[in-house]
Amino acid sequence: MNYDRIVLAHGSGGQLGNDLVEKRFLPFLSNSILDKLNDQGVFELGKQRMAFTTDSYVVSPIFFPGGTIGDLAVNGTVNDVSMCGATPMYLSLGLILEEGLPLEELDRIMLSIQESTREAGVQIVTGDTKVVPKGSADKIFINTAGVGVLDAGVCISADNVRVGDAILVSGFIADHGMAIMSVREGLVFDNPILSDSAPLNGLVRDMMASGAEIHAMRDPTRGGLAATLNEFARSSGVGIAIGETELPVRPEVAEACRLLGLDPVRVANEGKLVAAVRDSDAESLLEVMRRNPRGGDSRIIGTVVAGPKNTVVMKTAKGDTRIVDMVVGGSLPRIC
């Protein structure tokens, strides 16, 4: 696909976004740290290994069941630092405010930022505020950056997945995306769908302490589980096979997905992680994860296989095996 300008699909976590990074950013910015294309850059400052990340938050609505744009901005960045096995320490906070934003709403956002930094045990140590005319932003946009420290010798990376590894997910998928969609589309359920927005550094700390051999870890946000698993498969040159019946999906989330015609494996999460783990460590690690409140519903959902390479497949409930590919842009139907 050739575009001469940015379309929304460039930002939907699919192939177009990857193209943007690989064809338009890296040629200018390439260096050995950035080129790994992990969710965080890992480098040494003096003797200390560091992990550093940044992310921007533009979610609408800014208040949704289970969270606000504020805790999302903290949790997302905390999680990105954590996914390489690092301990997040300090965050920056950049605010772009639209003219007219009620201060009461700003206060609620600040409160949620405070609460999430407390749970994560991190501090906001620098910040910036800009105000733009009405219409130039949608109420509030937030950018955060975060740094953390990383023990020597830890090597958790998307290109480190090995054949035979077990694939673990830390709980129910698609909660965040469907919580947002339900609000936008007016879906009403007996059990309202809540965003899973949460910091995962505590869970990661327990996982690291367990001694399990973790090869890769990521939080499947935009593009959902499908995008993350495809990144694992492609970065490591392996195949990944998951089972549809193994996937933890809440009934109300499954129903909402069905109504909107969405696939839970392609819907965003904000408080879940996916890990590729040495098979022999998987069961014991699962026990450790389940003891943490952020991993109570952890499950093994699949395994890493030799082939077909660079491909994710899913055994469906019906019994056939379907290719779960990386979407290029939006979600256009391809069936006739």
Binding site: M1, E185, G186, R322, I323, S331, L332, R334, C336
Partner: protein, 760 residues
């Protein structure tokens, strides 16, 4: 004088040299014959009259499986040859000739099969140069026994004698075999244990008689078989195969038996009995004894005659008809290896009639319908593939990778376009691997290395993603409906501009919307979109395809706005309360709501409005069920529609059609009348827009392509209406109108683009 005669076409592995040998003896001419890289070379000596008569017979009396494309002669002075010899093939022999498709058992072998005095009496793998497996057993070329899956069987003295004797029907018959030396049948249970080892055929018949499901290995893969007159058994098969509604094919011994179930027209009989043995769609007779669950609610039945000896052995005395459906779980490709069948079909079949002759390349049964005395392929596979579609030009070296569903691929060599067997829906892993294997295999046996790769513009098609990963090939994107139209043009050798009407379910449009009700002014290398059905939202994207009621909400919203809820029709009344609300919100916010001009979706909607189908279990189900309601002697009137022109583009407003259908539904009009009126309307839309385009563009040729035109009722109406207004209408007879024909169209478009330098 001496004549050197070169014969090109399907002339190897089909008994051509023995035929020439016999012919030379009949004419009393000395000389020789051999296989060479371009086909068969013959030299004979005699008077001019003699050699000319001989050359005429080479073409005129050629063996049944051969296809002579060209015979050329060069004359010189005699050398005084003595006797006639079959010479050793020259180096590189049979490298570039055509491979025969798999062919149903011939009359001679059939006679021998049931002749108690013949040494192959009841031998399930009897064949000769005139029949038997070819394409499915060839691993590589040249076509010689060691390069086939028969390589593991060493011929006994008798078979070897036949194989070596130029006058024998089995001279160089590569799959030649007998009880002594050839493959064997065995009937096994799930765990591979033999059942009834002394007579597997009798044991299989016994199982089928008891209503059990047998997996039977045939030429191109496994069938799942049950007694077609046993309703309970057929229902069990449907349940286990997870195939809810789609019609199942049956196999019956001969046309006399078929005649008890179905009406057979002469052209249909010719196809039924042809050695290609496709499944032919026939109209059911009232009160026939086939279980209703075979093709529920369907006026038609897919019927084929036996084609492998094993089919005759099972059917000969014991069954009226057997259901013979592809040995697969719905959505998977047909199983072909013994172990694979046992693994994948274990939950479906009660027993497995296997054999030790491996199938190298799976090939499904072909399906055709006879339309106005000509075949209209719905699935082009066994018996047809790899016979190429010949073009009126030398083609560039191109691989076309087809669409996403009903995928086929196409490779060019010389002036021939080789369309592969039916591959299937690529999202399934096994099917995708079959897709890749077929590309490699066809490249190998055709000995071609493409330089260009033609693909669909849909960014999410797996065939598209595959094409864009082939760094060594020059990619050429082809719009879906352009490919449809050009596939029909290529079949008919049409050049220049035509009006292309391409009606189907889904195709990616140049504007990023989903097209499917398209009027193009098409040339091979390009097109202008001159008209289309009005855009309608599809709430839920792919879900709106699986659940036609969603699409109906999209149409109703366009027709009535939010007052659609006041329409007193079943579809609105029966929808769960908040679902309509949610869909309306999706439409207004545009969330997962692509826009489509698809005619397939219009059919879906009318089907849903008639409460025919709320959701579908196979592609095209809603439209097929709507077609079945239409009546040949029904009303001639139609619903209103509008055509608005903007900037030379004719946009068909389908809202009045929907309003008309809704009004009829509310009045309680007979669904058969509504369906007939609707079909009349679509035919009229085609004709009206074609006339408008013709007025400005001065074109009188119309090609009709896309899956919607598999609708027999619609196609008949449309062709009649177009012909009646002075158009020449062209329809498919070489490749399917559905996406199985896309690869051929892509190849023809890419070829013309390369020729014109437009793709570089």
């Amino acid at each position: 004088m001496k004549a050197r005669i070169s014969v090109k076409g399907i002339v190897q592995g089909v008994g051509f040299r023995p035929f020439v040998y016999r012919l030379a003896h009949e004419h009393g001419l000395p000389g020789w014959v051999l296989n060479c890289s371009s086909g068969v070379e013959i030299e004979v000596e005699g008077t001019k009259e003699q050699v000319v008569a001989f050359a005429r017979d080479v073409r005129g009396k050629a063996p049944p499986l051969s296809k002579v494309i060209d015979v050329s002669s060069e004359f010189s002075t005699s050398e005084g040859l003595v006797g006639f010899a079959i010479r050793e093939s020259v180096a590189g022999a049979s490298k570039s000739t055509l491979i025969s498709p798999d062919i149903g058992i011939c009359d001679d072998c059939l006679r021998e099969l049931f002749d108690p005095d013949n040494r192959r009496h009841l031998y399930p793998f009897i064949n000769c140069t005139n029949c038997g497996p070819r394409y499915t057993i060839i691993r590589d070329i040249p076509y010689d026994r060691p390069k086939t899956t028969m390589s593991t069987f060493v011929m006994c003295t008798s078979c070897q004698g036949e194989y070596d004797d130029p006058l024998d029907r089995r001279f160089h018959a590569q799959p030649n075999a007998c009880w002594e030396c050839g493959p064997r049948l065995s009937l096994v249970s799930h765990d591979g244990k033999e059942i009834g080892s002394d007579d597997p055929i009798a044991a299989t018949i016994d199982q089928l008689k008891q209503g059990r499901i047998a997996a039977i290995k045939g030429l191109g893969g496994f069938h799942l078989a049950v007694d077609a007159e046993n309703d309970e058994a057929v229902r069990r098969l449907r349940r286990r195969k997870m195939r809810e509604a789609k019609a199942l094919a049956i196999m019956a011994l001969d046309t006399r038996v078929v005649g008890a179930y179905c009406h057979i027209k002469p052209e249909e009989e010719a196809w039924l009995t042809s050695q290609r043995r496709p499944i032919v769609l026939l109209e059911k007779k009232k009160g026939n004894s086939i279980a209703e669950s075979v093709a529920p609610g369907n006026r038609f039945l897919g019927v084929m005659l036996p084609y492998a000896p094993v089919h005759y052995l099972i059917l000969k005395n014991d069954f009226g008809a057997l259901v013979m459906t592809s040995g697969n779980l719905t959505d998977e490709p047909i199983a072909m290896e013994n172990g694979e069948a046992l693994r994948r079909l274990r939950e479906i079949a009660d027993c497995f009639l296997v054999n030790d002759r491996d199938i190298y390349l799976r090939t499904d049964d072909s399906v055709i319908r006879v339309f106005q005395n000509r075949e209209m392929p719905l699935r082009r596979s066994r018996g047809f593939v790899p016979v190429p579609v010949h073009m009126d030009r030398q083609l560039e070296p191109i691989l076309a990778v087809g669409a996403e569903m009903k995928n086929t691929i196409c490779l060019s060599r010389g002036n021939a376009a080789f369309v592969s067997q039916h591959i299937g829906d690529l999202e399934n892993l096994e099917t995708y691997e079959f897709f890749r294997m077929t590309i490699d295999h066809l490249k190998r046996i055709l000995e071609v290395e493409p330089r260009y790769i033609a693909y669909d513009l849909h960014p999410e098609y797996l065939s598209t993603k595959f094409a864009l990963e082939q760094d060594d090939l020059h990619p050429i994107g082809v719009q879906h409906h352009h490919a449809h139209c050009v596939s029909c043009m290529a079949e008919h050798d049409l050049s220049g501009a035509v009006i292309g009407v391409s009606f189907d379910g889904t195709g990616y449009g140049l504007d990023g919307n989903i097209w499917g009700g398209e009027f193009l002014v098409a040339e091979r290398h390009g097109f202008t979109r001159k008209g289309h059905l009005r855009y309608i939202p599809m709430p839920g994207g792919a879900a709106a395809i699986r659940e036609p009621w969603r699409m109906a909400i999209g149409f109703l919203h366009t027709a009535f706005g939010s007052s659609l809820k006041d329409q007193d029709i079943g579809l609105v009344r029966n929808a769960p309360e908040n679902h309509v609300e949610i869909l309306l919100r999706m439409i207004s916010s545009g969330v997962n709501c692509p826009q489509t001009s698809s005619c397939g979706r219009l059919f879906d909607t009318v089907s849903a409005l008639l409460n025919v189908t709320g959701s579908v279990s196979y592609e095209g189900q809603a439209a097929i069920e709507l077609e079945l309601l239409a009546q040949d002697n029904g009303p001639e009137d139609r619903y209103d529609f509008g055509v608005d022109e903007a900037a030379g583009v004719h946009i068909v407003d389908t809202v009045p059609v929907i309003a008309g259908v809704v009004a009829d539904v509310r009045k309680g009009t007979d669904p058969a009348v509504i369906s007939t009126r609707f079909h009349n309307t679509v035919a009229s839309i085609v004709c009206t827009v074609c006339q408008r385009i013709a007025d400005s563009a001065g074109l009188d040729r119309v090609v009709l392509s896309g899956g919607v035109f598999q609708n027999y009722f619609l196609l008949s109406k449309t062709v009649a209406m177009l012909s009646g207004t002075g158009f020449r209408a062209f329809t498919h007879s070489a490749v399917p109108a559905n996406d199985g024909g896309i690869a051929l169209g892509q190849l023809a478009v890419a070829d013309e683009m390369v020729r014109m330098g437009k793709s570089i």
